[in-house]
Structure formats: structure tokens, C-alpha cells
């Protein structure tokens, strides 16, 4: 019984890994299904789809998860039919498969805590199975006919004519262990036709000391003269298809095909070998080329590069040679760096551990800043230098560590595909989702916390923004609506845009609702941009028809609060019948930033360094500030609004003779801030604002300096609004009415800044 106990404990340990991997497979299943809707019949996608399902089934079998195996088997059967073209992947079928995928996901998450199922759950699954079977069966008749036609055309296409295929097969490491033998596969292929040339690339085979003799490292490049169709050749690899990289180049391949094949080839090859391997030239031609190259150099003449010789003698396309040369160059480049193989590039790290490191790092940054201050006070040069070096290293570690938490936002975006698909179908709308800039990276914790607000905005756009196909056609727009989600980096923050080409926001309705709800005094008409801001107010909802998606009135204000909690901002722009554009600006990280430390009197403040453009001397030309500390200064012929912090925050100290103006840029606006002292760059560990400061506008956090003093970190966007409020004309009391975002009381209605030219 000992063995079974061991088995059990092994399964116990390995199960979480299986579950997380299976979840990834399920996620990619979903993505593949959605991608297939855009490009139906894509063979690669279909193959990948089938493999995903197959992998889930296979590994579930190892863990004895019989329910998963039994159910996935039906899905796999249907996918196989689809892959072979016997069943068409209609939207209905796609929906069914997505539902089945959800079921597999549910089954897998149950695997962690096995329990008996309710009859209802079993019944629901049985219903799905029946639908799956019906789908495989019902279309099979029609499908068989198409298959027969396809087969006959395939035969007609190749009948009697032998064609040369170029095949590259890279067997997976598990090939031997799965009981497969590349030798028999190659021998089987020889039964299909002639193999005029075959190269075994043994470059990946390790030396005997390091070899696991049961792992397969063999790769083959060969050509095959045969009458067989692609499917017949592929069938030879069907048992190893899961982990075998297989490339088939059709007869009559173009230089582009060869170039693509070369790019996909494993590394460690010489130019000639690469070209022979993909079948661009023959061994004999290569030998001749090499001989003439050697002869040329013997005669003392300049020896031409092999690529050029081959181009001249065999009429090889320069494009193919260049692709091969590129490949070689990449190999050399790769060898310069650390040994990077395809596998093991990623390690999984528990997020808690990473967080712990980040927290410690914050402490380290503060401690090192403290040590630097003490060192400066001792005035010992050696100590100061040593401290400076530590500071540099800490900064590097900080950057590196924060980089570890950066993840591409695309994963979050691609989750919306399903949402958009299902929601649009539910609402009877036809919507295409476009994702731009999915590779943009930001802090994982930000990604996690922005997902829900984004989801809400996407749903909102689908529900309220985009019209039904009939309405769109009536408005002279294409029936299919477009929803674009984009992300990009801009000066230390990330910009996320959600754009739809729907009906836009009706300002009159927004205003009417705002009057009705008392958000704005009856009859007062704020500026256009401010009307749109009203939809982010608590308790605001314009949907006349309350659906189960949105319109419950808990929407946009929660979205705004969530975004602001991330130190971000959200703005909305809309044009009637042209659509709406929502822009979210978020900081890249929540933990530590590069700051620019300044002093005003005894107080210290920090600007995020990336928002600081320049520092100018405050000359006498500066105008007298108004009651809120706003004034203007001329900077290279342009008027720059300037804030006086002393007046704004009521700091009771006298102004020194010399002051500086720090020029800050946020988005497209610039403004200046008057400060007494410039204290230089500072690594800033962001701490939340104390309760006392939370009502203070223009601040986003606090930080503890090396000396133990507390510095306040500016939120440059809201500070910019304070600076601009004066010059932007009359400011409606939009937010002040709700008291959600406190403003200095005097900011509201001063009208035009007294000193604007």
C-alpha cells in the first residue's frame, strides 16, 4: 500500500500546478475560439484548439479527474470533427463550445475540493453533452459530403504528379517517453514517396554527461517527393503532433515561404546547412559552392561570401539568403548574452513573496536615504562616497524589482473579448472589439485593480454607447459597431482609452438628469466639458431602460473612485452620433517613484520626476498672485500659469528673496509652481495620505524623508486643474455641490485671472 500512498501524496502536491496550468489552457481555448470567429477555418488555430482540449483531457486523466476527462472527451470529439472540416464552426457552435469551456473550467476548479455534485449540475452537463453529440452528428452528414468533395479535389490536384515537399520536424522532448520513435515515423514517410535529402540536426543533443537518454532532442529537415496530400503527410506525425514542431512547405514555395521556415528553424546551424535544410538548395549545389569558395581563396583572390556564390551559381533568391544570414546573426547575438533556451525562460513566483520584497525594498530605500543624510552631516568624504554608491545600487535594485511586477495589460484586455461577444449578442448588437497596445506593461497590482472599472466602462459602452444594427444603418453608419480598447505609455503614466463609435452622449439628457437629481442647480448650464463630467457623479444614471448590465446607478462614480484610488484620473469626451472616448490615466506603479524634492518654507514637497520639465528663476516679472495663489509668468513668449504654494496652502512663512518656478507638464498642459528651495532628486516611497490631509486638493500621498521629515507628494494633474482654473474662465460648481472632491473654497468663481493679457 506504500506506493499508492506515495502516489496520493504526489497527486496532492502536483494538483495545484495542474489546476493552474489547466486554467491557462482553458483561457487559451477561449481566446482561440474567439479568434476563430474572426478568421474561420484557420488551420493553425483549429489545431491549437484541439491540442488545448487534448492536453486538458490528458493531464486530467493523470490526476484521475474522471468528470473532466469524460466531459472534455465529447468536446474533443467535436473539435476533431471541426478540425477535419466535417463540421462547420458556426457562431451557434462557437457559443456552445464557449459554454462547454466554462463547464470544464468549473469542473477543474471543483477538482481542488472534490465533493458530490447536485443532480442539477449533472443534468446540465448531460444536456451540454447531448448538444455536443448532436452537433457532431447532425452536421456530419453534410460535412461528409464536403469532405468527400475536398478529398476528390485534393486527389485531382495532385493526381499523377509527384511534388516535392520540404519538411522540418522538431520532435518534443517527451517523444520517446510517449512510446514514439522518430525512426518509424521517417520510415513511414519513406513509404509515401522518396526522400532525396535528409539532415539530422543533432545540435540540440547534449553531451553524454548531460544527456537524459529518454528525452528526445532530435530535429530533422528533409524533402519528400510524393503524390500524397498535406493531410497524409501530417497524419504521419499525428501521434507526436502535440509536442512536435512541424513545418511543411508546399511544392512551388516562394522565397517568402523559405524565409519564414528559416526564421522558425532551431539555432546552431551554418549558412549552407540552413539553406539545404529548408530545401532552398541541394547538398550538391552547396558542395560546389564551398569548393569554388575554397578555390578562390587558394588562388589568393578575395573570397566571396558563400551567400553570394550560391546566389550566382544556383539562382537563389537574395531574400532567402538574407533570411538565413539574419538567422545566423541572431544566433550569434543570442550567444553573447546569457544562455537562453526556449524553455525555462519563466519561473513562477508566489505574488506574496514578491510583495514582501517590494515592501522591504521600500524600507531599504528610506533607510539608505537616512544613512545618506547622516553621512553628509559627518562631512567625511569616504563615507559620503560609499553611501552614494549604495544609493546608486539601491536605485538599480529598485528599478529591477519593480520591473518584476510589470505585466502586459493585454491579458486583461483579451478577457473583454468574451464579454463583448456575449454582451453584444445579448443586446442584439453587432460589435467588433479592437485591442491596441496590449503589450504595454504596468504594475500587476494596478492591472488587477483596474480590471473591474474597465469592465464596467466596456459594458457601459456596449449598453449605452453602441446602437443596434438597425439604428446604425438608419444613422448612415456601418451595421457593425467598433469598440477600441487601447493602452500606451505617456510620461511616466499609462493611458488607457476606451473608444466607441456609437451614438455619443446626449448632453441635454445628461443636463436634464443632473437638474432632476440636484447635481446642478436648475437652469444653470455648465460648460460642455463639465456636463460630461457629471456622469461620474454619485447617483447618476441616464439609462431609460435599466438592463441587467448597467443602469443600476452604481456605475460611473464607483469607476471614478476606483481609478482615483489608484492615483489615476478619468476623462470623457463625446460627440453626438460620433461616439465617446474615455481616457484613463494611471501611474505605472503604486509603490515607489522617482521624485523631485522641493522646499517651501519649512515644508517639503515632492513632484513625480517625470512630470518636471525644467526649473526657471522666478523673476520680478511674475505677476501678483490672486487670493488662491495663482498668477502667470511669461515663458519663451507663452503665458504660463503659476501656483504659489505659500498662498494656496496658507503656509505662514516669509518668502525668501530668490524663488524658483518648477515647470510641470501633464498631458498637453504646462504650469509652474513657485518654490523656495530645490532639493534634488529623491527616491520616494509612497505612503498614503493621513486622514487629516485627505481633503487637501492636489496631493496624492506622502513620503518619509531620510531625515525623518514628512514630505507631501503632489498629484500633478489635480494641481494642474487648480493652476488652470483661473485662466479657463468661469468654473461651474459641479463637484463642490456634492462635496465629493473638496476644492479650496475660493477657487470656484473668480472668473478670468486678473492678470491675463
Amino acid at each position: 500500500m506504500k506506493t499508492s500512498e506515495q502516489d496520493y501524496s504526489f497527486i496532492e502536491e502536483a494538483l495545484p500546478a495542474f489546476i493552474s496550468e489547466a486554467q491557462e489552457q482553458i483561457e487559451s481555448l477561449e481566446q482561440l475560439l474567439l479568434q476563430l470567429e474572426d478568421s474561420p477555418g484557420d488551420r493553425e488555430l483549429l489545431d491549437a484548439l484541439f491540442r488545448c482540449a487534448h492536453t486538458v483531457k490528458g493531464s486530467a486523466g493523470i490526476f484521475g479527474l474522471d468528470r473532466v476527462v469524460a466531459f472534455t472527451h465529447h468536446v474533443e470529439t467535436l473539435l476533431d470533427e471541426v478540425r477535419e472540416g466535417r463540421v462547420l464552426l458556426t457562431p451557434e457552435l462557437s457559443t456552445l463550445l464557449l459554454q462547454c469551456n466554462d463547464e470544464i473550467r468549473a469542473l477543474i476548479s471543483c477538482a481542488q475540493a472534490p465533493q458530490s455534485e447536485s443532480d442539477a449540475a449533472v443534468g446540465a452537463r448531460q444536456a451540454l453533452v447531448e448538444r455536443l453529440q448532436a452537433a457532431s452528428g447532425s452536421q456530419a452528414g453534410a460535412g461528409a459530403a464536403t469532405a468527400a468533395v475536398a478529398a476528390s479535389t485534393a486527389v485531382a490536384g495532385s493526381a499523377g504528379s509527384e511534388r516535392r515537399w520540404f519538411i522540418s520536424a522538431r520532435f518534443g522532448t517527451e517523444t520517446f517517453r510517449n512510446g514514439m520513435d522518430p525512426l518509424s515515423i521517417l520510415n513511414y514517410l519513406r513509404g509515401l514517396g522518396k526522400v532525396p535529402s535528409l539532415v539530422c540536426d543533432s545540435g540540440a543533443v547534449p553531451a553524454l554527461e548531460d544527456l537524459d537518454p529518454e528525452s528526445c532532442h532530435l530535429e530533422f529537415e528533409f524533402s519528400l517527393d510524393t503524390e500524397a496530400a498535406r493531410s497524409e503527410i501530417e497524419a504521419a506525425f499525428s501521434f507526436v503532433r502535440d509536442d512536435c514542431l512541424l513545418h511543411l512547405v508546399e511544392p512551388g514555395a516562394t522565397p517568402q515561404d523559405f524565409a519564414a521556415l528559416i526564421a522558425a528553424m532551431p539555432d546552431n546551424a551554418r549558412l549552407g546547412d540552413i539553406l539545404v535544410a529548408v530545401g532552398a538548395i541541394t547538398r550538391v549545389q552547396l558542395q560546389q559552392g564551398l569548393t569554388s569558395q575554397a578555390a578562390a581563396s587558394c588562388e589568393g583572390g578575395r573570397s566571396l561570401p558563400l551567400g553570394e556564390i550560391l546566389q550566382a551559381t544556383t539562382g537563389l533568391s537574395p531574400q532567402v539568403v538574407n533570411a538565413a544570414l539574419d538567422k545566423q546573426q541572431k544566433q550569434r547575438d543570442a550567444k553573447g548574452g546569457p544562455v537562453a533556451t526556449d524553455d525555462n525562460r519563466y519561473i513562477r513566483v508566489h505574488a506574496d513573496r514578491l510583495d514582501q520584497v517590494i515592501n522591504l525594498l521600500g524600507e531599504l530605500v528610506m533607510a539608505s536615504a537616512g544613512a545618506a543624510v547622516l553621512a553628509r552631516q559627518t562631512r567625511q568624504r569616504n563615507l559620503m562616497e560609499a553611501n552614494q554608491q549604495i544609493g546608486t545600487l539601491v536605485e538599480e535594485i529598485r528599478n529591477g524589482t519593480l520591473q518584476l511586477r510589470m505585466v502586459p495589460i493585454g491579458e486583461t484586455f483579451s478577457r473583454f473579448r468574451r464579454v463583448v461577444r456575449d454582451t453584444a449578442a445579448e443586446l442584439g448588437k453587432d460589435v467588433q472589439l479592437q485591442i491596441v497596445g496590449g503589450e504595454t506593461e504596468l504594475d500587476k497590482s494596478v492591472v488587477e485593480r483596474i480590471a473591474d472599472p474597465l469592465m464596467h466602462l466596456v459594458r457601459n459602452a456596449l449598453d449605452h454607447g453602441l446602437e443596434t444594427p438597425e439604428q446604425r444603418l438608419a444613422a448612415g453608419k456601418p451595421a457593425q459597431g467598433t469598440l477600441t480598447i487601447s493602452a500606451c505609455h505617456e510620461s511616466g503614466s499609462i493611458l488607457i482609452g476606451i473608444h466607441d463609435d456609437g451614438r455619443g452622449i446626449d448632453r441635454q439628457r445628461v443636463l436634464a438628469r443632473a437638474w432632476e437629481r440636484g447635481l446642478v442647480e436648475q437652469g444653470v448650464v455648465p460648460a460642455d466639458a463639465d456636463i460630461l463630467k457629471l456622469i461620474f457623479e454619485p447617483g447618476f444614471s441616464t439609462a431609460e431602460k435599466v438592463t441587467n448590465l448597467s443602469g443600476r446607478g452604481v456605475g460611473m462614480d464607483v469607476v471614478r473612485r476606483n481609478i482615483e484610488a489608484l492615483r489615476g484620473t478619468v476623462t470623457i469626451d463625446s460627440e453626438a452620433s460620433q461616439g465617446s472616448h474615455i481616457e484613463i490615466r494611471l501611474p505605472l506603479t503604486l509603490a515607489i517613484i522617482d521624485g523631485f524634492l522641493v522646499g517651501v518654507g519649512a515644508s517639503k514637497f515632492i513632484f513625480p520626476l517625470e512630470s518636471v520639465v525644467e526649473v526657471i528663476e522666478a523673476r520680478s516679472a511674475i505677476s501678483t498672485p490672486d487670493a488662491c495663489g495663482r498668477s502667470v509668468v511669461e515663458l519663451r513668449g507663452r503665458v504660463l500659469p503659476v501656483l504659489n504654494l505659500r498662498t494656496l496652502y496658507g503656509l505662514e512663512t516669509t518668502e525668501p528673496e530668490r524663488t524658483s518656478v518648477v515647470v510641470i507638464k501633464t498631458g498637453s498642459h504646462s504650469y509652474g509652481v513657485m518654490v523656495d528651495a530645490l532639493l534634488g532628486q529623491h527616491q520616494t516611497v509612497i505612503k498614503p495620505l493621513g486622514r487629516m490631509f485627505q481633503s487637501l486638493r492636489g496631493m496624492s500621498g506622502s513620503s518619509i524623508l531620510g531625515s525623518g521629515e514628512v514630505a507631501l507628494i503632489f498629484d500633478v494633474n489635480s494641481l494642474g486643474e487648480l493652476a488652470a482654473a483661473g485662466s479657463a474662465g468661469s468654473t461651474p460648481r459641479v463637484t463642490a455641490a456634492r462635496g465629493a472632491a473638496p476644492q479650496p473654497p475660493s477657487v470656484a468663481r473668480t472668473g478670468v485671472s486678473p492678470l491675463l493679457p
Binding site: F176, D181, P182, L183, S184, L186, N187, R190, L198, V199, C200, S202, V205, P206, A207, L208, E209, L211, P213, E214, C216, H217, L218, F220, F222
Partner: protein
């Protein structure tokens, strides 16, 4: 050159682990006793061979190459010659 070692009659995935260990011990011995440039094996007795077996030979060849030695398979059996041919590893059994 001392009398060559004999390759086993079965050179397949089933015996690969065992064979590897044997060869490693031969290599260790040889490193102590001889610095011959050619490391010869009598390959006449190989009856069964598969891709794992050929891979093992390729791996051995690589190890020897790293020690500036060449692998020579003497009198390769038809089974071995055919397998090497089929797998594009004919250089292993080429007449030298």
C-alpha cells in the same frame, strides 16, 4: 589502440539509461589510460536500434569531440547502418 568495446545488441530507449552509464564508465576509464585520438567501438553486434539509440551515439560523439577524440564505429551491423541512414546520421557509420 586497445581492443574496442562492443556495442550492446539492443540500442533502444529501453536500454538507453543503462547503456549511457556503461559508456560513461568506459569514457572515465579511457580518460585515465589512453589519449588515443580515435575511440573505437565494435558495432557488429547491434541487432535492435531506434532513434533513442542513435541519439545516444550522437551524444557520445559530441562528448568525444569535446575531448578532441573521434568516434569510430567498426563493422556496423546492417540494422545500425540502416537506422543511421534513415535518421540522416550516416556520418556515424561512414567508412573512415
Amino acid at each position: 589502440m586497445n581492443s574496442p568495446h562492443c556495442l550492446p545488441s539492443e540500442l533502444t530507449i529501453y536500454t538507453a539509461c543503462e547503456t549511457r552509464l556503461t559508456w560513461l564508465s568506459w569514457l572515465a576509464e579511457a580518460a585515465d589510460t589512453s589519449r588515443a585520438e580515435v575511440f573505437a567501438f565494435d558495432a557488429a553486434g547491434v541487432q535492435e536500434v531506434d532513434a533513442a539509440g542513435v541519439q545516444l551515439l550522437l551524444s557520445l560523439q559530441r562528448t568525444l569531440a569535446a575531448r578532441q577524440q573521434t568516434l569510430s564505429l567498426v563493422r556496423p551491423s546492417p540494422a545500425l547502418a540502416a537506422a543511421c541512414q534513415a535518421l540522416g546520421a550516416q556520418a556515424l557509420v561512414a567508412e573512415s
